[in-house]
């Protein structure tokens, strides 16, 4: 104690002031430390996940699905950063506002404004710096003790180039700089204003426009009416409402965004490979097709097969025989082969306007974009089984003969945007690219073309894979098996391929769901800080009510209405807003499970409500210990 008391200058002022303010100093330090620690830890986890999943999905998955997952992660981490920084600056602003009266008194007592400014700013610096430092160290400790080795993803991918050091420095540093700027500006404004205003800060916190006939709902009782009056008249509450609403909104975007993205990625796969579909092919081609289908979820090498071996070809007559079986609804006839393809950007005109009125047009010559191995699927567009997610639609019967739809993993390298300028050379023929699709087959390194064109290019009259959509009648499936057997073909369900791919997606998203769950925890912590700050600020009013005879239940109801009221209004605006953003702006052609959205809303509502009720209960109990002596002058 002696050491602190002996300090002079800004450090002595800060040390004495913080010691005297006790609980409030501790609360400010704790709130800020928690926010910085949680934000830093979340970003550390997030960048590690992104690195591991990026490596993992580059070996499997498809470009489109990987992009969706990584885009979600980047967005989530960006939103978490905003929530963290917003919350930190709000807490610092509240901390300085609580010092407004003291600053006014010291100034009125004759302190030189410049010296007062430097002293109070230094006091804020001490709190902010120590919070950011302790927050960063706490985040590092939690991250280091995180049980990565027990998680299968860690085992699969192993060590990754870690950017943790950057996050660990950048996040606390930005938090510190932002908080310090907010504190400096706030202190400068208070020191610059008149002492009278600073001392009588009560009026500056109230919104005089909302005076007049207040809301009075008799059924909800006096506590509710008092809470609504306080909330509508207190500018602090309005600021809290805005901050809490924004934090809840961003967290809900992270949470519901994860669910919508997970559902959508699963729907992309399911639409490309619908369930309850039979695969009919020669056993070698069947095995090859299953391997190609599971390449989305496995990294097994694809054996070399002569896809066009005559013994593997199913004649059109045999295909028609399958079509004739009662109960067979669709026969998707395919001719697949693996071949080398070369991508091109067609020669085209490019126009650009110079600084004047002139428009310059020049010819861009054809450009080769590269060569790779890809699976070509000749398909009958009118009987295709699959409703792929496409950029510009699937093949149509009226499309030009040499038209292809490119799988998402060849887009961006072999096939470049805009697609109408892209061409692919296969079997020494040039195909125009019409559209792109998300397809797990051969992990997205696939191109779909009209089957007649592929047959013509390869000189093959027939197919090597049939996909059959059969009704639920077991007799139909039995007839298909008998007919296939009679032609030396095997029959298998597409479901194991689909299930394997969906299991991989589920596993991937289960790692990612850690991010929204921790983001919700961060929001709960922030809500706790906001409510604690507001309750501390209004504590004198609550003590007055207690002394005047407000019983425990009345006080608890008042605190609950004030805390839960802020939360309820925030959630009422934030949750539908977050749903709208997640559904309409986050992913293209989203698939939304109402049950998932309901679950996410229920979980977040329960978590946040629990925090508000717990805060109200803690403060109610704290009020129970107060007496007249606790009233502030």
């Amino acid at each position: 104690m002696g050491v602190w008391e002996a300090l002079i200058g800004p450090l002595g002022f800060a040390a004495k002031s913080l010691r005297r303010r006790g609980f409030h100093s501790y609360l400010a330090f704790l709130g800020l430390t928690l926010t910085v620690a949680t934000t830093t830890f979340l970003l550390l986890i997030g960048q590690d996940l992104a690195a591991r999943l990026g490596i993992d999905s580059s070996m499997r998955s498809t470009f489109g699905i990987s992009w969706l997952i990584l885009a979600y992660l980047v967005l989530a981490l960006a939103l978490i950063s905003i929530v963290g920084l917003l919350s930190s600056s709000y807490l610092v602003s509240s901390m300085i506002n609580q010092r407004m009266r003291d600053i006014g008194v010291i100034k009125a007592a004759g302190a030189l404004p410049r010296r007062l400014l430097s002293y109070v700013t230094f006091e804020a610096f001490v709190v902010i710096f120590s919070s950011c430092l302790v927050g960063a160290l706490s985040a590092l400790l939690i991250y280091a003790s995180w049980s990565w080795p027990s998680i299968s993803l860690y085992k699969q991918v192993g060590p990754v180039p870690n950017t943790g050091a950057t996050v660990l420095i950048v996040v606390p540093l930005i938090s510190f700089l932002l908080c310090y700027v907010v504190a400096s500006v706030r202190v400068r404004r208070i020191v610059g204003s008149s002492s009278v205003n600073a001392i009588s800060r009560q009026l500056s916190n109230l919104d005089l426009k909302s005076l007049g006939k207040p809301l009075r709902i008799k059924r909800l009782g006096s506590a509710f009416n008092l809470a609504t009056r306080s909330m509508s008249r207190d500018r602090g509450f309005n600021r809290t409402l805005l901050s809490v609403g924004l934090c809840v909104f961003l967290s809900m975007v992270v949470l519901s965004g994860a669910l919508v993205s997970a559902d959508t990625s699963a729907s992309y796969v399911t639409r490309a490979m619908p369930p309850h579909i039979l695969i009919v092919a020669n056993s070698n081609i069947y095995n090859q097709y299953v391997t190609l289908g599971k390449l989305f979820s496995r990294t097994t090498p694809v054996p070399s097969v002569n896809y066009l071996n005559q013994s593997y070809i199913i004649t059109p007559q045999n295909a028609s025989a399958f079509r004739a079986i009662p109960g067979v609804e669709t026969v998707d006839t395919r001719l697949i082969t693996m071949t080398s393809i070369t991508g091109y950007v067609k020669a085209h005109f490019a126009s650009n306007q110079d600084t004047g009125e002139n428009i310059n047009t020049q010819i861009i010559p054809e450009v080769e974009t590269g060569t790779t191995q890809a699976l070509i699927v000749g398909i009958d567009a009118s009987n295709a089984i699959g409703e792929w997610y496409t950029s510009d639609g699937f093949l149509q019967s009226n499309d030009a003969q040499y038209t292809m739809i490119a799988g998402d993993s060849v887009v961006g390298n072999i096939v470049q945007m805009p697609l109408n300028l892209s061409q692919v050379s296969a079997f020494n023929f040039r195909y125009d690219i019409k559209s792109a699709l998300v397809d797990p087959l051969n992990a997205g390194r696939v191109l779909y073309a009209p089957v007649q064109t592929v047959q013509g290019n390869l000189g093959v009259n027939g197919y090597n894979v049939l996909l059959l959509k059969v009704n639920n009648d077991p007799a139909a499936s039995s007839a298909v098996s008998q007919l296939a057997s009679s032609h030396g073909l095997v029959v298998g369900s597409q479901d194991p391929i689909l299930n394997s791919n969906l299991a991989f997606l589920n596993a991937t998203w289960s790692y990612i769901f850690l991010v929204p769950i921790l983001a919700l925890a961060l929001t709960c912590g922030i809500l706790l800080s906001y409510l604690a700050t507001n309750f501390s600020r209004r504590f004198n009013d609550y003590v007055v009510l207690k002394i005047l005879g407000a019983n425990v239940w009345y006080r608890l109801k008042l605190l609950i209405w004030e805390s839960w009221g802020v939360l309820a209004i925030s959630m009422l605006i934030a949750i539908p807003g977050a749903w709208a953003v997640s559904i309409f702006f986050l992913v293209p052609d989203p698939s939304v499970s109402v049950a998932d959205l309901e679950l996410s809303t229920l979980v977040s509502t329960l978590a946040l409500t629990s925090v508000s009720l717990a805060t109200a209960t803690i403060y109610s109990r704290r009020l129970g210990l107060t007496t007249v002596k606790d009233l502030k002058p």
Binding site: L211, K218, N540
Partner: protein, 246 residues
């Protein structure tokens, strides 16, 4: 004096506040500190009791004990016939909202409520749910303290004297038999303080209220029927100037 008069006299003389051997100890940094040491005092209904003494003598502790905000470490505290030491927290809250009006040195109006809402709040706390009647009574009280034209103002928009007058109206709002005032003129200038003293004396004279006032203000002390002088937590002296005068 006939029998009826005697009965009235007996009723008037009922004790509003009755302390017998009351002590109060606090723990400060783990060490017991005695705020009150075996005090016995009583205030009769309709009296004004002034509790005087230097800062730290235990004046506010006495008010806390009367209001049931704290329980005595030793001794009996009876207020309006109720033994506060054995009452539950809920019962004490109900007792306060129905029977006690508070006036503080720092006014302590609820900052987000207007002057009339502060007064009306007290009626709601007392369980008076007829809002029409409450509004009418509030208007009468605001008129009584001369603040009808300031009824729609927030505490921060009122001067110290005006805020204290609102606090007096609030203390009267639930029509309590007992009013506790903690240095009600302590923050006011001479002239405004005098207005408050006059207003408080009217509470006794016109409304028949019992007042317990902690004060350093001589005008308040002069008005008192009984004066308890506290020194270092103990009772230094008791004067009953009104009785002497009568």
């Amino acid at each position: 004096m006939d029998l009826q008069d005697e009965e009235i006299e007996v009723r008037v003389r009922t004790l509003a506040v009755d302390f017998v051997g009351v002590s109060k100890e606090y723990l400060v940094n783990g060490k017991p500190v005695k705020a009150l040491a075996s005090i016995t005092l009583n205030v009769k209904e309709g009296e004004i009791a002034a509790i005087v003494g230097p800062s730290g003598a235990g004046k506010t502790t006495v008010l806390n004990l009367i209001a049931g905000l704290e329980k005595p470490s030793e001794g009996d505290v009876k207020v309006l016939g109720l033994d506060l030491a054995v009452s539950s927290e809920h019962a004490l809250s109900a007792f306060r909202s129905a029977n006690i009006g508070f006036i503080f040195q720092s006014y302590n109006l609820v900052s987000t409520l207007t002057a009339e809402e502060n007064v009306e709040l007290m009626m709601e706390l007392a369980g008076w749910s007829d809002s029409g009647r409450n509004e009418k009574l509030t208007a009468e009280l605001m008129n009584m303290v001369g603040l009808t034209d300031r009824a729609q103002h927030l505490p921060a928009q009122l001067s110290g004297g005006e805020q204290q007058r609102v606090a007096i109206a609030r203390a009267m709002a639930n029509d309590p038999p007992l009013i506790l005032a903690d240095e009600p003129t302590g923050n006011l200038d001479q002239k405004t303080g005098l207005e408050i003293v006059k207003l408080l004396s009217r509470l006794k004279g016109e409304k028949g209220k019992t007042l317990v006032v902690t004060t350093h203000d001589d005008r308040m002390v002069e008005m008192a029927d009984v004066i308890y002088r506290l020194e270092n937590g103990g009772l230094g002296s008791v004067d009953r100037p009104v009785r002497v005068r009568s």
